[in-house]
């Protein structure tokens, strides 16, 4: 597996394909799951491994739902582009997909820095809940 920083560098590159961006999203989530001493799943949910990885990350950690919609937006843009590659909005959609993938990356970067990121807002729990339990 590459380092987390390698993923960030690749995300900065120009002209990334939708499948590359989706794969970078998966790799981003893999880093978080691996950092939590788990083996990233190879399964798919709703036809996408990204959703399965998100669910794995969110199990027992509702704060991880802070990136649920971001993951779904990444897939939405992937679908838009791959189902109609000749659409006149494809370049714009690729640009948006890159910004969505970057957002997922920055969020996970924040979680790696401070694991309770999203804890008391998105999961509405005290950051002490884990310590107290």
């Amino acid at each position: 597996m590459r380092t987390f920083l390698d993923i960030g560098k690749e995300l900065e590159a120009d002209a990334l394909s939708p499948s590359t961006m989706l794969a970078l999203g998966e790799e981003t989530l893999e880093c978080w799951i691996t950092a939590n001493d788990q083996v990233p799943t190879d399964k798919e949910k709703e036809g996408f491994r990204l959703i399965a990885l998100h669910r794995q990350g969110a199990k027992g950690d509702p704060s991880f739902n802070a990136c649920r919609e971001t993951c779904r937006e990444l897939i939405y843009h992937y679908n838009l582009i791959t189902l109609d590659p000749e659409h006149d909005q494809t370049l714009q959609r690729l640009n948006m997909m890159k910004l969505v993938a970057s957002h997922l990356y920055y969020f996970i970067a924040g979680k790696i820095e401070k694991s309770d990121f999203g804890e008391f807002c998105c999961s509405s729990r005290s950051v002490r809940a884990k310590l107290d339990s």
Binding site: N65, E69, H77, V100, K114, C121, C122, S126, V127
Partner: protein, 311 residues
């Protein structure tokens, strides 16, 4: 929804702390549009902090009590059926307290004990309905009636609607959402889009409308917050937006603050303006920029509004 309109026309108003400070323009514009739309707001008497994020981290049950006290006053003393909180944090915490008092016996016990000590009636779950300012306009007025009152409107202003996190997450504390029909969605919220579209805005397809802005960690991990906000601002601009509409004082000040910080720290300048949805709606209703507190925003949108013939 129309048969319930009367229920939402006169509500208890819980501004919360932020609307007396950094979110003053949100408070001002919320009251101004209420007046313009003939809606009644009665401020909760002697209200207290909802517990915000700080109390929740020290003692979550104390936060439940603090929010329950606000609901107790609005319900038991002021006899309201509905309390409206325009701040996402307050709205979220009141909803969370409602959920805990419905589902957690230990929370009920703590709230009963503290309420008794404090000398006021204990709040009973289900006594009052907590709504957001977006629900308020949507339910008390609705798009059809709102359209009739629009004067001038937003004239094709390109808007990215940013809802933030606490308006929809965690989903279990918002049982009324995701019910199909006209209910709000937690995946892709649309109430702000609906209202501003009626006011003449051209809502852009914005993929980060509920994305994390790192707001809660803005002091402990400022660079992460700045990167997240900068990405939201860049995505709004890439979507073609001239304005980001907000419905939360924390989101609003976070976007404004980190827009400046992003330029200083990362050399990335973004020009998209940040405006409360109530300010946009107010101007669409013909209210002056001063009446909606546009000059109080750090993000200076006056020139844009003037150019568009809105302010």
């Amino acid at each position: 929804m129309s048969e319930n309109k009367e229920k939402y026309k006169n509500v208890a108003y819980y501004p919360g702390c932020a609307l007396e400070g950094t979110g003053h323009a949100y408070n001002k514009s919320t009251k101004a549009i209420g007046k313009a739309l003939d809606l009644g707001l009665e401020e909760v008497k002697n209200w207290n902090c909802c517990g915000a994020m700080e109390v929740k981290n020290v003692d979550p049950k104390l936060q439940t009590y603090l929010s329950s006290r606000v609901m107790s006053i609005a319900s038991n003393e002021m006899k309201h059926d509905v309390v409206m909180a325009p701040c996402n944090g307050c709205y979220h915490n009141l909803k969370k307290a409602e959920y805990d008092l419905e589902n957690d016996a230990a929370s009920v016990e703590v709230v009963e004990q503290i309420s008794k000590k404090a000398g006021h009636e204990t709040y009973k779950a289900g006594s009052i309905e907590t709504i957001h300012a977006l629900d308020w306009i949507k339910k008390a007025v609705g798009e059809e009636e709102l359209e009739k009152k629009i004067k001038g409107g937003l004239k094709g202003l390109k808007v990215a609607n940013y809802y933030g996190c606490m308006y929809t997450r965690p989903r279990n504390i918002f049982p009324e959402k995701d019910q199909g029909g006209d209910s709000e969605s937690t995946d892709k919220p649309h109430y702000m889009d609906d209202l501003l579209a009626v006011a003449g805005a051209d809502n852009v397809d914005f993929p980060l409308k509920t994305a994390c802005c790192g707001g809660a960690h803005t002091l402990s991990d400022s660079d992460t917050s700045t990167k997240l906000v900068l990405n939201i601002l860049m995505a709004a601009e890439a979507s073609g937006a001239e304005v980001i509409a907000t419905e939360c004082p924390t989101c609003h000040s976070g976007l404004e603050m980190h827009q400046i910080r992003a330029e200083k720290m990362f050399g990335k300048k973004t020009n998209v303006k940040i405006v409360y949805f109530t300010q946009l709606l107010g101007m669409a209703l013909g209210l002056s920029k001063r009446k909606v507190g546009l000059q109080e925003n750090i993000s200076d949108s006056y020139a844009l509004m003037k150019e568009k013939g809105i302010a």
